[in-house]
């Protein structure tokens, strides 16, 4: 299974009223890999995530997940196929606790059916115990155990990021799209988070595609890196190859953001 492709993207175009956000992007993600998606601000990374997860409709192009074409599906259907995603700005529903957020995520819960609530109480209780157990394990991982009964809206930005990672893990995706998982997270926790992300792949076999601005995270955990600029793929390779790629340096240095690619901070 080492080389099988889990996600294949072909010639994706997406236009926002004249601005070409995605200009024919194509690439593949191998199963069981950790792939980084980088690029200057406005290069189309988040748009691409939104297209893959169905929140935006693509203008043209094809997306294949495990060999099957994804076409015209609602975001919830795509999530059910096994593509999980987090958002750049973490969402947390109001008046729901951290633990409730985690318990919300598992798919196909018996108790989500109106009639099951009255007809299958035992099965719902059994599932609940099981989900609660998983949730407590995930709380340990994201270090939010002490805050489990706190309303999620009261968490800090970084904690919300962690919560959104924990929440999507509860839904047991096969492919995980992480939009800046370490942004706003305390640096010591970033290390734990990197270990955790690697463990997800090693132990649970989850394929990970992540957008990240922190190059240290990228070079430490990603096997492959894909670079976008102006809605096009400009480079692909190992982190080392990318760091010395002319086109990449050009994109970052001449781009409007003018930010350094390889700074050691954050």
């Amino acid at each position: 299974m080492e080389n099988s492709v889990i996600l294949k993207i072909e010639h994706i175009y997406k236009n926002f009223g004249g601005i070409l956000a995605l200009n024919g992007v194509s690439f593949s993600v191998e199963a069981n890999s950790i792939t980084g998606l980088i690029g200057p601000n406005g290069s189309g990374k988040s748009t691409l995530f939104n297209v893959i997860s169905g929140f935006y409709r693509k203008d043209s192009g094809e997306i294949y997940f495990r060999g099957e074409k994804i076409e015209g599906l609602e975001p919830c259907n795509i999530a059910m196929l096994g593509i999980g995603r987090t958002f750049q700005i973490s969402e947390a529903p109001e008046k729901t606790t951290v633990l409730e957020n985690l318990l919300l995520a598992p798919k196909r819960q018996c108790g989500e059916g109106v009639f099951n609530v009255f007809l299958n109480p035992l099965r719902i209780r059994r599932e609940h115990e099981q989900h609660l157990n998983n949730a407590l394990g995930i709380l340990e991982l994201i270090q939010l155990t002490d805050l489990k009964n706190e309303y999620a809206e009261n968490l800090s930005g970084g904690q919300k990021k962690l919560l959104s990672l924990g929440r999507i893990l509860m839904s047991e995706p096969q492919l995980l799209l992480l939009d800046e998982p370490t942004a706003g997270v305390n640096p010591t926790l970033v290390k734990d988070l990197m270990v955790a992300i690697r463990n997800l792949r090693d132990q649970k076999g989850i394929t990970i595609l992540l957008v990240e601005h922190n190059m240290r995270v990228i070079s430490e955990i990603c096997e492959r890196v894909i670079v976008l600029d102006f809605g096009q793929k400009i480079a692909e390779g190992t982190p080392e190859e990318i760091q010395s790629n002319e086109a990449v340096l050009e994109a970052y240095l001449s781009g409007s953001s003018k930010r350094g690619l390889f700074r050691e901070d954050t």
Partner: protein
């Protein structure tokens, strides 16, 4: 005796409105659906049961179940075109749907049998009261109160079970926007439709109880104003709290009926008095908005 009668009447109204308030709370409080047309379910329930019992001579229980089924179906059907609308558009669409229902009954006399001075704007009287012959005129309201309270309890138990289940967790997550539940694989549209159907079902139940209690219904009892009285109950009682919804119904009903006693103390005309009750409700909403944003009973935190 007059006072006891009045109190029993008040309790019956509290029970019926409590059912309405619980069902609106499921839609607005828990799911965030700004349903401005809740009276449509009330109206449909009243007319369906009247049709079944008065015209088709069916037993009361069939009228009650029929009212729930028809109103629930209506909730499901109106959410087909509207389920993807955002909150304010949803409010407008439901408000319009309720007016459509009312105007339908205003124009279609045949629904309740037809005949001279019957149906349409004349309304329809003589709606039979269940098991009326077994009770005296004095004891019957007590029996009816018991029926209403049983229905209220059943509504509370069912809606409470739903809101505390995984189903309840999903609808609470929809309240703050579709993106997150969508990304977790929850079919937001389907959940909204289910909530509209469930809320509609219980709205229909309340309508049936109302029709058979008063024995007379007419379209002008189902003006949009009724919806807003129920809204006041949810806002004052505490949204997303089922006990709050019932408390809200009790409080609003007390204030709503309190103005009738004012004429003993203040020289005021009956007509003015009727409008005054709306002012009282309005003031209560404003007070709740300023001093108790979350209502009398706050939303409960779920702790495991």
């Amino acid at each position: 005796m007059g006072l006891v009668n009045f109190l029993v009447y008040l309790a019956i109204m509290m029970g019926i409105y409590g059912i309405l308030s619980l069902s609106l709370n499921l839609q607005y409080g828990f799911t965030g659906l700004a349903n401005f047309g809740h009276v449509a379910f009330f109206c449909l329930g009243a007319y369906t049961s009247t049709r079944l019992v008065l015209v088709f001579k069916m037993p009361f229980i069939i009228g009650l179940l029929g009212a729930m089924v028809i109103a629930g179906l209506f909730g499901y059907v109106i959410s087909i075109p509207t389920a993807n609308l955002k909150e304010d558009y949803w409010a407008i669409a439901t408000l319009a749907a309720a007016e459509v229902v009312r105007i339908f009954f205003l124009n279609e006399d045949w629904v309740v049998g037809g005949g001279p001075y019957q149906g349409g704007s004349f309304g329809i009287g003589g709606i039979p009261q269940p098991l009326r012959s077994l009770f005296s005129a004095y004891t019957y309201p007590f029996f009816y109160l018991a029926v209403v309270l049983v229905c209220l309890l059943a509504t509370y138990v069912i809606i409470n079970a739903l809101t505390q289940s995984p189903f309840g967790r999903v609808i609470k997550s929809i309240r703050s926007g579709d993106n997150l539940p969508q990304a977790l694989g929850k079919d937001v549209r389907a959940f909204r439709m289910k909530v509209m159907a469930i809320g509609g079902t219980f709205g229909g139940l309340a309508g049936c109880l109302w029709a058979h209690y008063h024995g007379f219904i007419s379209p002008n009892q189902f003006l949009p104003l009724e919806t807003f009285i129920v809204w006041a109950m949810v806002i004052v009682g505490g949204k997303a709290n089922n006990k709050g919804a019932i408390v809200g119904a009790v409080v609003i009903m007390v204030f709503y009926n309190s103005t009738r006693f004012l004429k003993d103390y203040i020289p005021i005309e009956e007509v003015t008095l009727a409008s005054l009750r709306m002012v009282v409700i309005g003031v209560l909403i404003v007070i709740a908005m300023i001093f108790m944003k979350e209502g009398l009973i706050k939303e409960k935190k779920t702790v495991y």
